[in-house]
């Protein structure tokens, strides 16, 4: 693949690894997320999961991984905890758990920003890239604080609050993607941030009748 399209994919789409194959996989993952947003819920959910697997596979494939067992172990531990929570929690507290899961994404963004700021060498983290990383970490901190505050005030189950939290996670992901030069993070983060902001704006504009489909739990502590 040395044609102009491959060159465009390799140079413009993926900032870290100029391989057109990896860039194409990232692009496919982004397209899957875009289709998932226009699909019915369960189908869209599975398409999003397929995009997740593709993007993670491309991320691992495109880098010289020296600590693969630790990374796989972390994914298994995190997935196991999430599975345990979602299967064992009572139905009434499930919206709260999902909202707090969005808060955990803020914690993940903070940890990621701290990790790349402590190790700037591989990412050429200077100038605008460092500023993007700091902004991403700050957005993650605000998101974590907002999720904890919403949990404290009992509004974490509100669908509109979760839309704002998703927008925050998207913004943090896009900023961190700009910092490390990863196209999948930029595409997915910007797509979800603008999509959830637009949807939240629609819901607020149309009033309570429009938010009927959003999962709510107003009476929860």
């Amino acid at each position: 693949m040395t044609g102009p399209v491959a060159a465009l994919l390799g140079i413009r789409i993926d900032g870290v690894d100029p391989s057109p194959f990896v860039a194409g996989v990232y692009l496919l993952a982004g397209l899957l997320f875009l289709i998932a947003m226009r699909s019915p819920q369960r189908r869209g959910n599975r398409l999003a999961l397929a995009g997740l697997v593709l993007a993670c596979a491309a991320a691992v494939y495109s880098h010289d991984v020296v600590n693969l067992p630790e990374m796989v172990g972390a994914v298994i531990i995190g997935g196991g905890i999430g599975l345990l929570l979602v299967r064992r929690a009572a139905q009434a507290v499930l919206p709260i758990l999902i909202g707090l899961g969005l808060g955990l994404l803020g914690a993940a963004a903070m940890a990621l920003a701290a990790a790349i700021l402590r190790n700037r060498g591989p990412f050429d983290l200077e100038g605008a890239a460092a500023i993007c990383a700091i902004i991403g970490g700050l957005i993650g901190a605000v998101q974590l604080f907002a999720a904890l505050l919403a949990g404290w005030t009992g509004r974490i189950g509100d669908g509109l609050v979760r839309l704002w939290l998703i927008a925050g996670a998207g913004g943090a992901g896009a900023m961190l993607g700009l910092a490390i030069g990863n196209s999948a993070m930029v595409m997915g983060g910007a797509l979800a941030a603008s999509g959830s902001l637009t949807l939240g704006w629609r819901v607020r504009k149309m009033g309570p009748a429009a938010s009927g489909g959003l999962p709510r739990a107003p009476g929860l502590p």
Binding site: A29, A114, N119
Partner: protein, 97 residues
């Protein structure tokens, strides 16, 4: 890429703008039930970043910070995916007499 400090963010800026526009137009007619889909997508975005950071990190502190990000993003991703699939919590023990 990457010779100048501004290269990576500037090169990806058009992609950022196009993705923002695509998200705006996708959500204009979207149903409001795609919250779990967005949650799964967000978890995958941060999981990819955390995996890359964990793969690249040299110092021990940075590596463990990246692994912490991997754990947090995995928990959030499974929570969002499970909610979207309509997984019912296992009530067998609670309902047992």
């Amino acid at each position: 890429m990457g010779s100048a400090p501004m290269t990576a963010p500037l090169a990806l800026l058009p992609l950022f703008v196009v993705a923002c526009a695509a998200g705006f137009f996708a959500a204009r007619r979207a149903v409001v039930d795609f919250l779990p889909t967005l949650g799964t997508g967000m978890a995958s975005v941060l999981l990819v970043g955390a995996l890359i950071a964990a793969a690249e990190t040299g110092s021990v502190a940075a590596r463990y910070l990246a692994l912490l990000a991997v754990v947090c993003a995995s928990i959030a991703g499974i929570l969002a995916f499970g909610a979207g699939e309509g997984w019912q919590p296992d009530q067998a023990e609670d309902d047992a007499p």
